[in-house]
Symmetry: C2
Subunit: 406 residues, 2 copies
């Protein structure tokens, strides 16, 4: 737990990236290679260089171009690493040691913070699943019979997870609506977003063993905003019976900064009531939601404010479910919550839902309307959450601009 | 193309691992670390050590515990590497250089040959898809409307791909049959196999670009037998709407030896007729099946002989489809064909099909019957194919034994 409330850096007490937050990322200075850093205010501290200057033996874990080595060390190393960073930034005697290794954010390039091992996408918002089910399967029940018994998930493509700011090329592929006699080939005409929260996993577990709900927090390193770009026309034609594939695998954007779970202790809230009662392996003491308020904008117009606090399944339940069959965990595994949608129309986390499959286009500030994304559109998701010291912390952003299909 | 027909090693001309084959793998001697080797007869050559002794600058690409560095080099390096190996093994003058680096297969430990980047499983057997559709969706058409328009596939879990010989712990999870009022939790009672062929991908492609059918062979390094273990009860309850997840992700077994595509040139056969005609991006000159004869045994009883030659989609079509949306390729990507099933009952590649969902158990040599796998069962898949010199090459084996659930 972070106890220091002040830093010797000149940062306002209520700064969203103050000493109560300290998200990790990977950055490269103008003249250097990518390495691990921590964000403080509008600066980034080169952790490996600072640790080396301070004589820490473990400095090398941060002198790599991803968080994976640090993730592999596990919970106790994460706690001691964070405590050391707080000491360096709050003890004025450390100033001379730290200052040479601070960079202005504007001077560095941000990289993908993790080398993604396996990526799983869940489907944990009841409102989202209900909306999508109503749109995709209008003749059936909106929620499938399994939905309230298990956190539905599937594996996505790790190799196309890209860092926030990366352009997204409009995907091309097959689509076929009931009105088409044959499939049509071309750039997607129903390109969408999914506003999600990503969970970064650390430590390892053995194949054949499982990680229960109450042990899951040992593996939950932190969170980062996530945009699971989706080509609805490609997805609708391909997804029966084996699930989404090319409708999702062209790109998924991850925020550059990973907020440690320790910084979200004040954001924990009770889950919605789970009825029917889940099976025992999905029960335990470590059940929680997160009071994260998200904001989705297109070309600067806020189009939605999805509330994470209403998500049905706890991240610990998602992790316990993912491993109940004996599937192992690796450092750098990433799972995402699925689209975050609230009860209100203005809280829906995808255009599919916001425009009800394109039937009710939304209007942007400039008067343009959107059913789905157009080339040149920039989508930005931001979020805030209550921090440990009564301040509101910022969860960075995940942004991307659509480029025309090749 | 391999032209040498003789080696100075004492190996029968028709040996299934003769000089016309030369599969790659990763092995560790009793006292050493894992490194890349090539199989010749019943021995394995330490490629890095041999190349270093021969003064090759590129020896280090093989002095690593996976094929990934070699895969990254691309097609021309694969061709020159293979030509060099053939020269070393056929030119008697190279004998003194090579012999110190040969190990008897029985003296080494075989490791997973690749570090799996993304793993995709296809569904390319019309017979298998028809059988499974008939069993899982008895009230609908056996083949979904998209099946003949695109090679259906989905992403699986890379982190639980294990090398042949690794025990498989029976997975635990939720199941619910229509007869159950609530989901039931426990070890899978319908544990199955899927006899498949895995394709190992090399080189890289850029995100946002695609690899067409006629460029796909540049990325197809080789094949290895693959067993996609499947818990049918877990799968049936979870898979709607986002596809298989825990029913598959507990383990997938890959053979230790990767047969280069060059060794399969004589095995190429025409595809079955594709009707309706696929869209243009799935057409080209590089369309082929592979005349690989597989054999599945349980505890020593051959239970099936799936013929790969009848598979509907070409591996080049699968790769072109996988990237048509702009998804990038990385060295170590692995895609599997999906279960190989032929027209005859004795050619079905899963117990689900062989026993028709357990209704028609099969009988083993010892008189025992099996609807699905029991603890202690050992499943072994082997295969052969026509080789370049008129001999039949062996595709190694993929084997695994079921251990009780924890």
């Amino acid at each position: 737990m972070t106890t220091a409330t002040a830093t010797w850096l000149d940062i306002a007490a209520d700064h969203p990236y103050g000493i109560a937050h300290l998200p990790y990322g990977v950055f490269a200075p103008a003249d250097g290679e990518a390495r691990v850093g921590v964000r403080i205010g509008d600066r980034v501290l080169d952790l490996g260089a600072c640790a080396e200057a301070a004589g820490m033996e473990s400095a090398s874990v941060w002198q790599t171009p991803s968080l994976n080595a640090f993730l592999a060390q596990g919970r106790s190393a994460w706690a001691s690493g964070r405590a050391w960073i707080v000491e360096m930034l709050s003890n004025d005697a450390r100033r001379d040691c730290v200052e040479p290794h601070l960079y202005a954010l504007g001077e560095v390039t941000l990289h993908l913070p993790i080398e993604v091992a396996d990526y799983v996408d869940f489907y944990a918002s009841e409102q989202h699943a209900t909306n999508v089910g109503s749109i995709f399967r209008p003749d059936g029940d909106a929620l499938t019979p399994n939905w309230k018994h298990l956190p539905i998930g599937y594996h996505g493509r790790s190799g196309t997870v890209v860092v926030s700011g990366t352009d997204v090329v409009r995907p091309t592929g097959q689509r076929k609506t009931p009105a088409d006699s044959e499939p049509v080939f071309g750039p997607s005409i129903r390109l969408d977003i999914e506003a999600e929260l990503g969970f970064v996993v650390g430590g390892t577990s053995e194949i054949g063993s499982r990680v229960g709900v109450d042990a899951a927090d040992e593996h939950l390193f932190g969170v980062a905003l996530f945009n699971d770009w989706s080509a609805r026309d490609i997805q609708a034609w391909e997804y029966v019976p084996l699930g989404p594939f090319l409708g999702k695998s062209f790109a998924s954007s991850l925020a550059a900064w990973v907020t440690p779970m320790e910084a979200l202790s004040a954001a924990r809230v009770d889950l919605p009531a789970q009825d029917p009662r889940p099976l025992d392996y999905l029960r335990g003491d470590a059940l929680y939601g997160l009071d994260i308020e998200m904001e989705v904008s297109i070309n600067g117009t806020v189009v939605s404010r999805p509330p994470y606090r209403g998500m049905y399944w706890s991240p610990t339940q998602m992790l316990a479910h993912m491993t109940v069959n004996g599937a192992s965990l690796r450092p750098g595994d990433l799972f995402a919550s699925g689209t975050v949608s609230g009860d209100a129309k203005a809280e829906r986390g995808s255009l599919l839902e916001l425009t009800w499959s394109g039937q009710e286009p939304i209007t942007l500030q400039d008067g343009q309307t959107r059913a789905f994304l157009e080339d040149g559109d920039t989508v930005t998701i931001t979020a805030t959450a209550p921090g440990p010291e009564g301040v509101r912390i910022g969860l960075g952003e995940v942004t991307g601009t659509i480029r025309p299909a090749h």
